[in-house]
């Protein structure tokens, strides 16, 4: 197993928690939260999972941000006793990958709980409040977190032809090692799914502030949310089509396929012209 891990240093973590976020998440939610935690809490990378076996390595992707290569980074925010893991979702061997993540959490971070974050594409407006929908890997952990403002009444079975998500596999891997786990699902307005959802990110970070006693100053996130809202309000004023579509969503009306696609394209061109 050790040959699949590349350690850079051994973090002095005791009774820590691990927060896992994936790149390519809706609204850049999971990866965005992990980046934020690392930036605010001085997270330093201490270990990587070797990509062989988990990612196709026949070449590299080059996109707007340049050359892309699978990222699989564990970081330690030592002062806060918090570890983070930001990774591309593996293309293969999910269970093996999840076992590796949990092994690092258990053996090198001494974790007491593991958290996953997922953006969930929703047919809602950006002005709608972001709920945190929770799944727990044990009933005991659910009871422990009862005091927090989490939606905890989900009943779900994988529909035929689909398979469980990577975060579910990870939470189950944690359960196999008796590590309590919480999966947070945050509804991301569909027209922000390919962009950025700072309000969703803020909602998750607020929860971590509370849960881990981090006392992070979130004014920068407030600014990002405000800036995005200002630009979207301006876009609504300038475009009757955008205004109509978002108003419909705000009054819980659904949009047709063409209208949804047009809204996605319109918002993308507004927000990508001057990133938040």
């Amino acid at each position: 197993m050790t040959d699949r891990l590349r350690f850079h240093w051994q973090p002095p973590l005791k009774h820590s928690s691990l927060v896992v976020g994936w790149t390519d998440d809706a609204g850049k939610l999971g990866g965005g939260v992990v980046d934020y935690l690392n930036r605010k809490l001085g997270g330093r990378m201490f270990c990587e999972i070797e990509p062989v076996q988990f990612f196709p390595l026949g070449g590299v992707t080059v996109d707007d941000d340049g050359v892309q290569f699978p990222e699989t980074r564990f970081s330690a925010c030592s002062q806060a006793d918090l570890a983070t893991f930001k990774s591309n979702p593996p293309a293969a061997e999910w269970t093996k990958f999840a076992s590796l993540v949990v092994s690092v959490a258990e053996r090198h971070c001494d974790v007491r709980e593991l958290h996953t974050i997922s953006g969930m594409v929703a047919l809602s407006a950006h002005t709608a409040p972001r709920q945190l929908v929770a799944t727990y890997n044990t009933a005991e952990f659910k009871a422990e977190l009862q005091a927090y403002d989490l939606v905890g009444n989900v009943d779900y079975e994988t529909p035929p032809g689909q398979r469980p998500t990577l975060n579910t596999v990870l939470l189950w891997a944690a359960k196999r090692r008796n590590i309590p786990g919480l999966g947070l699902w945050v509804p991301v307005p569909f027209y922000l799914a390919g962009l950025d959802d700072p309000l969703g990110r803020k909602r998750v970070v607020e929860f971590y502030n509370q849960r881990f006693g981090l006392e992070m100053d979130l004014s920068d996130l407030d600014e990002q949310v405000k800036s995005q809202f200002v630009r979207l309000a301006e876009a609504r004023r300038n475009s009757p089509q955008i205004e109509e579509s978002i108003s419909k969503l705000e009054s819980n009306q659904s949009l047709g396929e063409d209208e949804s696609l047009r809204l996605i394209n319109d918002i993308e061109s507004v927000l990508k012209s001057q990133p938040v």
Binding site: W94, T95, G152, T158, R163
Partner: protein, 303 residues
């Protein structure tokens, strides 16, 4: 990677009978029929975590209740002189997302299955699968057998409508046994265990069909049950065969005339001694029949 034992039965020189899903599910239907009829009891399973993707999660009240994987279960039946261990896998493990077993995971699973068998003193291993052959679906499917030694070949050769593969004890027919049915045979040989793979014939044009082929499972079962000294009630399998045959008949009637005529000619020619299908046949299947099944029989599948 682990085997989880729920019981530790005392067994006397058990035979291992293993099966996984494959073409027409011929082997797994045959083995599961016999397992059910003898009332074999589950005693262990291979932990699927390292082999498969999960197939279903159940969440209740926001708590993960279960994560279901394809099962890989061991069963036993005490018979007196020679007991039985059954192993039934719901999916073949494979590296790289291939349909049939291949690579490290398949090799590991084959070894784990045999580790359990040998732990209980097993000396003989049966697997079962399909023999894709240029036959007509009206033909009674024969059973091809690959065996680890001459004596076993002679034993199986006594059954009517069997084709023994291999050059020494067999008919000279050679070929490849893909997937875990083949791999288990090889690993068993490496360990010095007697091994037999019984393969029921399936018409080449049905080898890609998304439904089982119970007539062939029956042929396999007749040989297997007799070798194991077990009485089997075939009525369930026969009923299933009637349903499937009627379904095949309907599909057959919808085939383009040219294709149907070509298949019909097989009724008029002597049945081949068991040669593997030719490259030309394989190409023919790819070009015509597989396409036909892909196009839209799914809604019509028999229940």
């Amino acid at each position: 990677m682990a085997v989880i034992f729920h019981k530790e039965p005392q067994l006397n020189k058990p035979d291992l009978i293993a099966a996984w899903p494959g073409i027409g599910n011929i082997g797994v239907v045959a083995v599961d029929t016999i397992r059910g009829q003898v009332g074999a009891e589950e005693f262990g399973e291979i932990d699927s975590w390292d082999f498969f993707y999960p197939k279903k999660v159940t969440i209740k009240g926001s708590v993960l209740e279960s994560l279901d994987f394809p099962g890989n279960k061991f069963y036993f039946k005490r018979q007196g002189q020679r007991d039985l261990i059954f192993f039934i896998g719901e999916e073949q493990p494979s590296d790289g997302g291939r349909l049939y077993a291949e690579g490290r995971k398949a090799y590991d699973m084959a070894n784990m299955v045999l580790d359990v068998a040998e732990k209980y003193g097993c000396q003989r291993v049966f697997t079962s699968g399909a023999a894709v052959a240029p036959i007509h679906h009206a033909d009674s499917p024969r059973v091809w057998a690959a065996v680890s030694g001459r004596k076993l070949g002679e034993q199986i050769g006594k059954y009517p409508d069997t084709v023994i593969m291999g050059g020494t004890a067999g008919s000279g027919v050679t070929g490849m046994i893909t997937g875990l049915n083949g791999l288990l045979l090889g690993v068993a040989k490496k360990r010095g265990l007697e091994s037999i793979c019984l393969m029921g014939e399936i018409p080449d044009y049905l080898s890609g069909a998304p439904f089982p082929y119970p007539r062939s499972s029956r042929s396999v079962l007749e040989v297997l049950a007799d070798m194991l000294g077990i009485e089997v009630d075939y009525s369930l399998l026969d009923n299933m065969a009637v349903q499937i045959n009627s379904f095949i008949g309907k599909i057959y009637d919808e085939l383009p005339d040219e294709l149907r005529e070509r298949i019909e000619q097989r009724k008029l020619t002597a049945r081949p001694r068991g040669e593997a299908i030719t490259e030309e046949d394989a190409r023919w299947i790819r070009e015509h029949i597989d396409e036909f099944f892909r196009k839209g029989r799914a809604d019509d599948r028999p229940s």
